[in-house]
């Protein structure tokens, strides 16, 4: 006989939704950006993405084996880390350094804390911060998008021999450039040369930059897919972009001749990729709704402050890492009143 009433304990979910499903969908959302990156920057970007992903996966397998744990590669999170790391490095980044970065992302950035669900920081950003501190010259080696022979030949720095300085990029950029592109990113041009950039190329990503951070519109659409399917919290990108827009507008209207257009701030650098795929790391961001708003606004504000007032041209990475570090604290002070408790008593 069939039971009349079936009793189950909470949570009462309508659809089976596991970590693996969510992570797999994030990978799907990242694939168009990867494809566009390869089209923009050519074979080197492809090699970079493959290297970082392979290094991350290999490190995870190795560490799981070493610590006698079941391999956790199957939950796709390490593939996201690998792809994201490839997307936030310059397209001509030497592959051996990228492999070192992949190791750093997974070994100290994730597995040392206990694997997925325990990492304090976004692993890909940990690796990027390490690489920026370790190889400050190579990580500034930006090349223009849509270079002439990009699909048939590699950027010369890609195959630099490990531990040996890569050949300088200037000659290659000179040889392959189309019209007026230069190697500097729009943010570097704005900050150091006071050259303003058009907004349209920023929107469709035809500019120098890290291999996957350039097509702001495409990144926005891919993020929107995840938001619509409710795989990530819309509040984080909304808070981050709004706060960046508001704070850079405040700067802009105080002195339009010195500070860039707020929409330029939104579309340049890694702002969009950071908002959609980095800040939304489900482990390293707060969980309470109010906390999420605080967290997102904090990232936007710190980014704008670093860009406009700091020594670096781009600040998304450090802003997100800082906010990651603060998210347990944010969670702690924004605990909702528990049901039945009086006043601000915490359950």
């Amino acid at each position: 006989m069939k039971p009349v009433i079936e009793l189950r304990t909470s949570p009462h979910l309508h659809a089976p939704r596991s970590v693996e499903t969510i992570m797999r969908n994030v990978v799907y959302a990242l694939l168009p950006i990867c494809a566009y990156a390869v089209w923009l920057f050519g074979a080197s970007a492809l090699a970079l993405l493959v290297t970082t992903t392979a290094a991350c996966v290999a490190t995870e397998i190795f560490i799981c084996k070493m610590s006698g744990r079941e391999s956790s590669v199957g939950d796709f999170s390490v593939i996201i880390t690998g792809l994201l790391l490839g997307l936030i490095l310059p397209p001509g980044f030497p592959l051996w350094m990228a492999a070192v970065g992949g190791f750093i992302a997974v070994a100290p950035g994730k597995m040392l804390f206990g694997g997925l669900g325990f990492n304090v920081f976004n692993p890909a950003l940990v690796a990027r911060a390490f690489l920026q501190a370790a190889f400050p010259v190579a990580i500034m080696g930006y090349t223009p998008a849509l270079a002439v022979h990009r699909l048939s030949e590699f950027i010369p720095t890609t195959f630099a021999i490990p531990l040996i300085k890569a050949a300088p990029l200037a000659g290659w950029i000179e040889k392959t450039r189309v019209d007026a592109f230069s190697g500097a990113t729009p943010l570097m041009l704005e900050k150091f040369d006071h050259v303003h950039s058009e907004l349209w190329p920023l929107l469709i990503g035809q500019r120098a930059g890290s291999s996957g951070e350039t097509p702001a519109l495409l990144i926005f659409l891919c993020g929107a897919y995840l938001i619509l399917r409710r795989f990530m919290d819309w509040r984080i990108p909304a808070a981050m972009l709004t706060s960046a827009l508001v704070s850079s507008a405040a700067f802009y209207f105080s002195d339009p001749s010195r500070y860039p257009n707020p929409f330029f701030m939104l579309l340049s650098g890694g702002m969009m990729l950071g908002a959609m795929f980095m800040a939304t790391d489900p482990v390293a961001s707060p969980v309470t709704p109010l906390g999420i708003w605080i967290y997102g606004s904090l990232i936007g504000l710190i980014t704008v402050l670093i860009r406009l007032k700091g020594g670096l041209a781009e600040g998304v990475m450090y802003a997100i890492l800082l906010a990651n570090a603060m998210s347990p604290l944010i969670d702690n002070v924004t605990q909702p009143r528990s049901y039945g408790a009086r006043g601000k008593e915490v359950a």
Binding site: P108, A133, A134, F135, P136, A160, I164
Partner: protein
């Protein structure tokens, strides 16, 4: 802090290496100040950006520890318990002053590279720890050996860190270029975070190593105790 000391009252039944020998070797490996006791982290992280600095710092500390241990062991029965720490520190400070002038006399560049860290040996917890837990309780000969052993163990650890940091951070070993002039330096390793990362990696390596050898030892002892069962 209170780990098993290889002190004179370790009554071991079987013929073991003499106590004097143990006093010397404990610091080198079994109780290595950096890798096992994790003491003296300040110079370990700050001074190991090159092998030369690491060795100089290690030897300076070795000298301080050997001589301070000797002084302290000499007066250990005269000093009232209540003022022993003050006495120890002033004796250590005396040795440090001697070393400070010695290094200055031997090599000005090394003196400048080590900067304030030679005077700071006096506040290195390692020196006070050995004075308190060893030299204040043991005769003078063994105390000197303990100071030497601990100091050399410290030098060994500093050299381990210095090697990794100098090779990766500057591409040289003792100032000798290893990779030619086109080396791409990992600037990070010369900076403070590099010190922390390198220390963590070495600690990990040595801890793994120790655990493995402990496991083997236990397995051997278990095999000796139990008669081996012949598999059916």
């Amino acid at each position: 802090m209170n780990q098993d000391q290889p002190t004179c009252h370790s009554a071991s039944p079987e013929p073991s290496p003499s106590e004097t020998f143990v006093a010397f070797t404990a610091g080198l490996w079994k109780q290595n100040p950096v890798f096992v006791m994790v003491l003296g982290m300040c110079p370990t992280l700050a001074i190991t950006n090159s092998v030369r600095n690491a060795i100089a710092m290690g030897l300076a500390t070795t000298f301080v520890m050997a001589s301070a241990n000797a002084f302290i062991s000499m007066v250990r029965k005269l000093v009232p318990k209540q003022v022993r720490i003050a006495t120890y520190i002033s004796m250590i400070a005396t040795s440090v002053t001697i070393v400070d002038y010695l290094v200055k006399a031997i090599s000005i560049p090394v003196y400048k590279a080590l900067g304030p860290f030679i005077p700071l040996i006096v506040s290195n917890c390692l020196t006070l720890e050995r004075a308190e837990s060893y030299a204040g309780k043991n005769p003078i000969g063994k105390s000197i050996l303990d100071g030497l052993g601990m100091g050399l163990g410290f030098t060994f650890a500093l050299t381990c860190l210095g090697t990794v940091r100098e090779v990766l951070g500057a591409g040289t070993f003792l100032g000798f270029p290893l990779f030619g002039s086109n080396f791409e330096p990992w600037v990070l390793f010369l900076l403070p975070p590099g010190g922390f990362i390198t220390l963590a990696m070495w600690l990990l390596t040595f801890t793994l190593w120790r655990e493995r050898s402990d496991k083997r030892k236990r397995a051997r002892e278990a095999a000796l105790e139990k008669p081996v069962e012949i598999a059916s």
